[in-house]
């Protein structure tokens, strides 16, 4: 049985049907005028041979082509793109089945930050009364490593609400190079979680090694096809409206191999997209449609996710502002556009502007977590542990986020109302009304341990003390002390024999022999 996710019975939508059509028409017009600049020759050729108007752009420092994509190509791609996408997992019970028309949300980590944020707690004494001490968290940022990535996957394996794993930290060890990064990041992830693993590709040269590794771990070529344990994120369009040379190559090759791929665009309203809501949505929608069109022309039927990471610019720094309410508005709109096309949507929530866990982080991320979840995206990424825009990952924050999603998931349970329930309730009301104390408390007990009542916030301190971070830290360490189901020794041996570039220290069985 695949994971259940959370079904949103009545998704929150900002746009009317008429507005959705207006945005769609605007995107179609954008694809024709001004069209896209392609820095990728093959993409231009594929589109041209299928009816797009392609002209060489001169003068230019790099060879590039203006591509005008006609509506009929887009509609053909939207027709052939699968409306249901399966993402497999080492443990098949962790598979995700995403249907474009069904607003069933899966919560996912993400997305490739450079900084890993450690935390420890220091005791501080009160100046006027040194016998009074408080524990204060101290945060220590540092460059992420492959060991951190293993730890992140291990932690995410045990976060109850997390449905799939996007590596949240970039591995920057001295022995990691462009040529071995992909195999190591995927192996470190796959070996420490039995959930689905998705990532971006650093080097196209590593794609076949990765696919071979996934075949070995999944149990064979057919098994991988049936249970795609890995998938890819491609940002082939750089906003505004440019096919990038290398990532477009990557997407073309992934499509040729038929593995699931996210066509993601991340415009910033105000700098690389219009600041107005309809403007950024029309542009990002055009960019995603362009990617889907290209991918379907390469290999019709390739499973694709409509990937949207729209964000508003901060006016003081021009950095991304994930905490701005407009960012959530844009994401909700994109979910609605994806549903209009019946494509599963890869959406974004939970990132915040502040750099450390605390009140601002909780407020900003919970705001977008709730609102974007309510819109019903199938694949909600970035939702665990990201801080400082998209540049820092803190495992402690991921544990806090898991608690947020438990609350959100509980809230989204459908109402339990039936005639028999109402009859029982009426009996209860009449019974209690006839007692002198008029309390319903005795009727709570049958529900108390049935899972029908939500639990208190798990990081609530005793009395007035705010010990949220310290208690979450305890929980994080507890989760990390629980074992994970690694890839079995035989498969691990084959993977290390057949896949070049893997760091020997990632072979846990060989490492154990040394101890």
């Amino acid at each position: 049985m695949p994971r259940e996710g959370v079904l949103i019975h009545t998704p929150y939508e900002r746009m009317t049907n008429e507005q959705v059509l207006q945005i769609h028409q605007a995107s179609i017009q954008i694809l024709n005028n001004p069209g896209l600049i392609s820095f990728n020759r093959e993409a231009a050729e594929i589109l041209q041979s299928n009816g797009a108007e392609v002209t060489s752009v001169t003068p230019s420092d790099n060879p590039c082509w203006l591509v005008k994509i006609p509506e009929k190509l887009v509609l053909r791609a939207l027709d052939s793109a699968p409306k249901t996408v399966k993402l497999g997992a080492r443990n098949k019970d962790n598979s995700l089945i995403m249907k474009g028309e069904e607003p069933r949300v899966f919560f996912v980590s993400g997305s490739e930050t450079n900084i890993w944020l450690d935390v420890d707690f220091q005791a501080y004494a009160k100046k006027s009364d040194p016998s009074v001490e408080v524990m204060v968290p101290e945060f220590h940022p540092r460059r992420g490593t492959v060991s951190d990535l293993c730890q992140a996957a291990h932690l995410c394996e045990h976060l109850e609400t997390l449905d799939a794993f996007i590596r949240p930290v970039n591995i920057q060890d001295k022995d990691i190079t462009e040529d071995n990064k992909d195999v190591n990041k995927y192996f470190a992830s796959l070996n420490n979680t039995t959930k689905h693993v998705m990532a971006g590709l650093t080097s196209l040269k590593q794609l076949d090694n990765l696919v071979n590794m996934a075949r070995l771990i999944a149990g064979g070529e057919e098994e991988l096809k049936e249970n795609p344990i890995i998938s890819f994120i491609t940002c082939l369009v750089k906003s505004p409206l440019q096919f990038v040379e290398d990532t477009t190559d990557t997407m073309i090759e992934i499509c040729r191999r038929g593995l699931p791929v996210v066509v993601s665009s991340a415009p910033q309203a105000g700098s690389t997209a219009p600041i107005k809501e309809d403007g950024i949505i029309a542009q990002i929608n055009a960019e995603v449609l362009a990617g889907i069109t290209l991918g379907q022309l390469v290999n019709e039927g390739t499973p694709m996710l409509y990937g949207s990471v729209p964000v508003r610019a901060r006016m003081d720094t021009l950095n991304d502002s994930y905490g701005a309410p407009e960012t959530s508005q844009y994401n909700v709109d994109c979910v609605q556009m994806a549903r209009f096309y019946k494509l599963p949507c890869y959406s974004t929530a939970g990132v915040c502007d502040t750099g450390t866990p605390g009140m601002q982080a909780a407020i900003e991320r919970l705001f977008s977590d709730i609102l974007v979840t309510l819109s019903g995206p199938q694949y909600l990424h970035c939702a665990y542990g990201l801080l400082d825009g998209n540049s820092t990952f803190c495992p402690l924050q991921a544990v806090l986020d898991d608690a947020h999603f438990q609350m959100i998931r509980f809230f989204l349970r459908p109402p339990r109302t039936s005639q028999s329930d109402i009859d029982e309730t009426l009996r209860q009301i009449r019974e209690v009304a006839a007692t002198p104390q008029k309390l319903y408390i005795s009727h709570i007990r049958p529900m108390l341990r049935s899972g029908q009542l939500s639990a208190p916030y798990p990081f609530e301190g005793d009395g007035d003390a705010d010990n949220v971070l310290a208690l979450a830290y305890e929980r994080m360490n507890q989760l990390l002390s629980e074992p994970v189901e690694h890839i079995d020794p035989e498969t691990t041996t084959r993977v290390f024999q057949e896949i070049p570039g893997l760091l020997p220290r990632l072979n846990i069985y060989e490492e154990r022999k040394k101890q």
Partner: protein, 229 residues
């Protein structure tokens, strides 16, 4: 046989099962006798009252209290057990009156004049009954004169006054003053509680204690008992 009855009675207090129809916490208990049926059985088996109270009812409540402290139990569990014990004590009452076994004492409780809020008061009453006190609940909006009359006539060792509002909590001070004027203040310990009340306010009006909830009320009453001993 009596040992089995006492053990079952204690276990059913822990499970908060008043009657055979209650489910309790562990599965498969519905249909088996609960606290009230087992109390009757214990009396039929001529088990001494002191044994029933100390080894089953009180001992069971102690376990419930421990589980609550460890957050294994919640307030509804505590109240279910206390309610079952309170009703068991009502069954035992005529036998107690005919014997030399003493209860923990009489406790009169009321929400004062002008205030009709009674959720907290009701919970305190249930918990104190479960802890072995004889509770006389006068209800809500109770006039000062009525409270003084009951203290004079029934001679309870303890009086609990409840008020939710800042506008009605002043009546608690009037009750304390009236008890003094009627020479009854030395006869009864006055405990006050409610959302607007505090330790400072209790001291200001001359009450003996402020209790934040029913659990603290039990602790303070038990401490008064120990002080008396």
């Amino acid at each position: 046989m009596s040992e089995g009855t006492i053990a079952a009675l204690k276990e059913n207090v822990i499970q908060g099962r008043k009657t055979k129809d209650d489910e309790g916490i562990e599965a498969g208990m519905a249909g088996k006798p609960g606290v009230l049926e087992l109390t009757h059985l214990a009396l039929e088996q001529k088990i001494p009252l002191e044994t029933i109270i100390t080894q089953a009812l009180t001992a069971g409540m102690e376990v419930v209290g421990e589980k609550f402290s460890k957050k294994e139990y919640f307030i509804p569990d505590m109240l279910a057990s206390a309610e079952a014990v309170g009703e068991a004590m009502e069954i035992l009452k005529p036998y107690l009156e005919a014997s030399d076994v003493e209860t923990k004492g009489k406790f009169v409780i009321a929400t004062v004049k002008g205030d009709i809020h009674d959720i907290g008061k009701n919970i305190v009453a249930i918990l104190l009954r479960g802890a072995g006190y004889e509770v006389n609940d006068l209800g809500t909006d109770v006039p000062v004169e009525k409270i003084v009359e009951v203290v004079r006539d029934d001679k309870p060792g303890f009086l609990g006054l409840s008020a939710l509002l800042t506008t009605t909590m002043v009546v608690m001070g009037e009750v304390v003053q009236a008890l003094k004027e009627n020479n009854l203040r030395g006869e009864v310990k006055v405990l006050v509680g409610g959302a607007a009340v505090s330790d400072e306010y209790a001291e200001e009006i001359g009450a003996d204690a402020y209790c934040v909830d029913g659990f603290e009320a039990i602790k303070k009453l038990d401490a008064f008992q120990e002080g008396k001993a």
